[in-house]
Symmetry: C2
Subunit: 349 residues, 2 copies
């Protein structure tokens, strides 16, 4: 698997006239080498590639990236990178790398031309392989099991924090490595913040409660949001829930292979605008996910990407009314040649 | 609080001949503005400073950074930054920023000279204010409460993953916002990896179990490691535990205001070398912590920093024997003018 990815990447390198590529993004390194540690750089070359890391990860690198030569540095990672690139002239460096790292490399390799590259590995990662889709399904399964047992707990008096802690614990107990991101439990007026943190606010009758969660398992994420209505809710809240739902449906219906990502955003947004909630939808429609919870493609009105079979992404319109309430509906979906499969469908209210 | 920090930073700006500074590091932005969202840039100027973020964070920015003017961008963050910097000539940009961001800024601001700056905010963050130390103490309290109830659970047959999930849940139940980092529960041969992930391995009689955990509360971290001996352990394991402990003592004893961070590392390392475990201590002695779990100072043999009163950092020597076992002892300590206080002392075996 790693070998096929490396070959595709080497092809892109050649197209861009590069002798080598420095892969620095943590999940990019993982994608092409298998190594999941927090400190590693993959030096990719047509002849011999290498993974450079430090002594803490010696055993882990050998286990996770057995087909890669591994260099352990002791003083500075640029020492080992220099040794690997001594005879290169034109080397790509991921433009997500820091300015500081680029500057240290420039000092270590005065005769090498460093060329920032944009999204090369990310472009490969956007199209999921069957094994990756299975990994996402496994993450969904942990999230679904946790959700099922959580539902009876959603009662007046229980705090947002208690609910978030229980959900995280149950995902891990159901096989997740950890939550894929900070679990959002935002109730009543707190739900007006799309990225609210769980607070000590107790749930109350009449609340809309936005619960945005996902599991991370074997490196892969899922991401789902449910808005729970607690007891009897206002007419306005019913209207908000219905609008979000119909916006989701409009977004979903617009998606097919070859459709512009921006088109999907506009389809969902247009529906909210028609219902008078255009101003209250303050973020984009969705995002790809996989090794990271936000990756390519971006489903926003400014996106220039095209949706293709093999992409996994979220559809998540929301309405946020300051000081009052909020609602969001989110599913993780897989686009295939036949259409769109809702991977998180089993997570039911 | 934010105002005093801004004034100190403006002083550093003037020293470096900069008209303005772009603060991009998430925790740096939080430190000087109070805003804790995932997408924000602080544009710091002597006259009017501003926080730039997107629509998802409008309400949160107003609440968390009430004294800051906030600009919400819709298309590209560089649009708003340009508007704030139109009349500047020399602007600092944190060198932890990405190459891509620097390049977009250079395009947006062709007449401005962008100068990478290194560790300006981090330098302020290294010296903790009383309120920050209280926040770290509160994080320790959550971790301590969780640990206390966890001890009876450490039994043969319980898996690493179960233990990690329970510890995370109990920290959150005790008031933590979340774990400060991925909780390590590494037993038997797994403990030979300093950054092992919790696996499905069941604990067994005779194991050394390295448990490295910390709570994050109101933005601040703590970090502690305990090595638990399960039942009767080998003579070799006893020796390893003792060596780690004496190395910790040697490191701790070496620390005082004005001591070089490298000296502390060498003191602990020297002790392990004398005991024949020099090669098995594969990482540095410790790291500062606060808003991040790794920040200044770095206690390594290559560090050029000096330990000063007000710094909070870990002391954490370890021994890692591939395929066999591992042990580590770690405390979070506060250096004062009087000496060193062990903040995590209450987390007992």
């Amino acid at each position: 698997m790693s070998e096929a990815r490396v070959q595709r990447l080497l092809g892109l390198l050649e197209e861009q006239g590069l002798d080598a590529l420095l892969v620095t993004g943590r999940q990019n390194v993982r994608y092409i080498t298998g190594f999941s540690g927090s400190n590693g750089v993959a030096v990719l070359r047509r002849d011999t590639s290498a993974l450079v890391t430090d002594g803490r990860y010696k055993e882990q690198a050998a286990r996770e990236a057995p087909s890669w030569e591994t260099d352990i540095y002791t003083r500075d990672i640029t020492d080992e990178i220099r040794a690997r690139l001594a005879d290169s002239t034109s080397v790509g460096i991921e433009d997500s790398s820091s300015i500081a790292f680029q500057s240290r490399l420039a000092t270590a390799l005065p005769d090498v031309e460093l060329k920032p590259t944009s999204g090369m590995v990310e472009q490969l990662r956007a199209l999921k392989e069957p094994g990756e889709i299975e990994a996402i399904r496994a993450a969904v399964e942990s999230a679904a099991k946790a959700w099922e047992t959580l539902l009876p707990m959603i009662q007046p008096g229980v705090t947002e924090r208690q609910l978030a802690a229980a959900l995280d614990y149950r995902m891990m107990s159901a096989g997740a490595d950890k939550p894929a991101f900070d679990t959002v439990v935002a109730s009543g007026p707190n739900a007006a913040m799309p990225h609210a943190k769980a607070t000590d606010r107790p749930l109350a009758e009449g609340d809309l409660i936005v619960i945005d969660f996902g599991a991370l398992k074997d490196g892969y994420c899922c991401d789902v949001t449910r808005t729970v209505a607690l007891g009897e809710i206002s007419k306005r809240a019913v209207e908000v829930l219905g609008a979000v739902r119909s916006s989701w449906d409009a977004g979903f219906a617009s998606i097919a292979p070859g459709v512009a990502a921006a088109h999907a955003d506009l389809a969902a947004r247009g529906q909210l605008e028609r219902l008078g909630f255009g101003e209250e939808f303050v973020h984009s429609l969705g995002h790809g996910l996989g090794l990271e919870v936000h990756e390519k493609p971006t489903l926003s009105k400014l996106s220039k990407e095209t949706l293709e079979p093999g992409m996994v992404f979220t559809i998540e319109p929301g309405i946020y009314i300051e000081g009052e309430m909020g609602a969001r509906h989110e599913e993780t979906v897989l686009l295939t040649t036949d259409g769109c499969e809702i991977l998180t469908k089993g997570i039911n209210l």
